[in-house]
Symmetry: C2
Subunit: 354 residues, 2 copies
């Protein structure tokens, strides 16, 4: 490693994002994108007149986007911060609420990026194993004195924790921040947003990358009490005050205002998920119950790595994590019915050849 | 301050960006934006077909934008990293090259954001005063054992250091990283880019916010040796792997490919700057020599704060820093000739009234 690196940078654990082949030759079911284009309102809002204003800085307070979110979630502007994707928002939260004497706890099997951020800020992390069946036992977190991060629904399992369980964590220690990462909540999870006015220590993080068809626009946000949002703003203004660009501000606001398009797209994904789960089970797969836009499934006859490799050879990309406990599984994004049919056909062929 | 804050977040020193009034009632000469819209090639490249792909993640390697920069600067892809504005790139650099046992040095009067990032990463900073006339004495840095950051040309003074001076710093200690922040270099500074192949310890940071009319697009980049760029990527993949959105990648590449538009716009700014400097001097102002798209000027008859306030009351926004040594100055962005004429007329009126 280079001598120029600081000791802190040498200790980092960089995240490996899913493959993003730029040639579009694959049926891409590996990074949980929406199969649907952004709302027509997004495309219309990104007008020529707006493009011609790119010489001017974006609004650092992101007021228009924050306002649209406030109306959608029945909150106030002081309850909201927006960012360059929810990864940035999570980084702000890890810095704001964790540090010396303030450890962080999260599950052994969850969004891999939490580990990268733990290393980035040199945090003391308590990794708490999920149960054998991949459910999360909130009792394991009740007495934890630091900050808790729960992806709900969880990735890559797709499984959700009831809101009442999160509520127990919030009440057990009101001095402790609970970060609920709801990246996938719009596909069937139980959101904690309605509890924001009640619990000052609750931070909900969401993204427009999945249910709002804006992965390429990079728009994430956190919803919480004014105290927590002010803390996140301290970090934002120390790191990158103009963190959301002009076009993403416009796209994000237009997306959140098109409720009917959102409802149509998320309903279609849920329908395709249920269809795909049944088909996979018919092929002998074990499929975990999913509240998300992906399925976590185990073949039984082939290892997860083999399923991943053989599908890739045949033009279908899914995600495989070469990690303990989940090595036998693949994570399959729910795309269009056409894409899911192609996946199921391909898997059928692979298994027939065994 | 909230009890939820980590000790590290409590110690932050958030940056205050220049006012960004959203109502456009001002002649806005306070944040060093370009008075010209982005290149017509940028507007054309942001096509409907591209907008319809916003549901897909952006390329985390930013290959198309990196490729365009590589062609423009005669470098290789491994010499380049792009970011969500150069503020993000600077943050990556502060984390990658500074830390425990690796202090950072910069001038007392320079880009205010360095202080915010010093606090963000808890760094030991050596603040080295500029000379009385605001020139930078490189001898003051020659023996410094940590990382050096020099804004060249400097903000808010507008004054530049010769490339040969930077070269002395690079050679004095090859084990030490020198970060040259060239945000304003395209308006008359001497870029260090031609030295990149020669000095492994040189990192040049640039932005498309000023000379490329893309402040609202948030595109910054660093150019340097593969070792330094790899270090920055370690931080990026620990913080936000998809840090540049799809539309900014496209806009940035189109902007960097339109060399003639770039040349026309920067030449116009330089012409308007020279005209404005003469007019200000005719009004009795002391104007520092500028290699940038702004002027740093002292009225003599009114304090900097008074000039700022009276101009604002009359619809012209400039930037004033309420800080030691520069309190008597205002920083005036160079806009269109029409805008600069309005500024000069307004100042003339204010001074006549005294």
């Amino acid at each position: 490693m280079s001598d120029y690196l600081s000791a802190e940078a040498a200790r980092l654990a960089p995240y490996t994002p899913g493959e993003q082949p730029q040639d579009q030759q694959y049926i891409k079911l590996n990074t949980n994108e929406s199969p649907f284009p952004p709302s027509p309102r997004v495309v219309k809002a990104l007008s020529r007149a707006e493009l011609l204003k790119l010489n001017l800085y974006s609004d650092p307070t992101c007021a228009a986007l924050v306002g649209a979110l406030a109306r959608r979630y029945e909150l106030k502007a002081e309850n909201i911060i927006t960012g360059n994707g929810s990864d940035e928002i999570l980084a702000f939260a890890f810095r704001a609420f964790c540090g010396e004497g303030r450890p962080v706890a999260y599950a052994d099997i969850t969004y891999g990026f939490y580990k990268a951020q733990t290393a980035l800020f040199g945090l003391d992390a308590h990794i708490i194993p999920l149960r054998e069946d991949f459910t999360l036992n909130v009792d394991d977190y009740l007495d934890f004195p630091g900050t808790i991060v729960i992806a709900n629904p969880n990735a890559p399992t797709g499984m959700a924790v009831p809101r009442a369980d999160i509520q127990r964590l919030l009440e057990a220690r009101p001095d402790r921040v609970v970060i609920v990462d709801e990246a996938y909540v719009d596909f069937g999870g139980e959101s904690c947003v309605p509890m924001i006015y009640r619990y000052e220590n609750l931070l909900v993080v969401q993204t427009m990358s999945k249910s709002r068809s804006l992965a390429g626009g990079r728009v994430g946000y956190a919803l919480g009490s004014p105290a927590l949002i002010a803390a996140l703003n301290r970090v934002k203004y120390s790191f990158n005050p103009y963190n959301v660009n002009r076009l993403s501000l416009i796209a994000g606001a237009a997306a959140v205002e098109d409720e009917s398009y959102f409802a149509t797209c998320t309903a279609a994904v849920v329908r395709n998920r249920e269809w795909t789960a049944r088909e996979l089970e018919a092929l002998g797969f074990t499929v975990l119950p999913s509240c998300t836009n992906f399925l976590f499934a185990r073949c039984g006859r082939l290892s997860g790595g083999e399923v991943y490799r053989r599908l890739k050879e045949n033009g279908v990309l899914v995600r495989w994590f070469d990690a303990e406990r989940i090595r036998d599984y693949v994570r399959i994004t729910i795309g269009s019915l056409e894409q899911m049919t192609a996946l199921v056909d391909e898997l059928g062929r692979l298994l027939d050849e065994l």
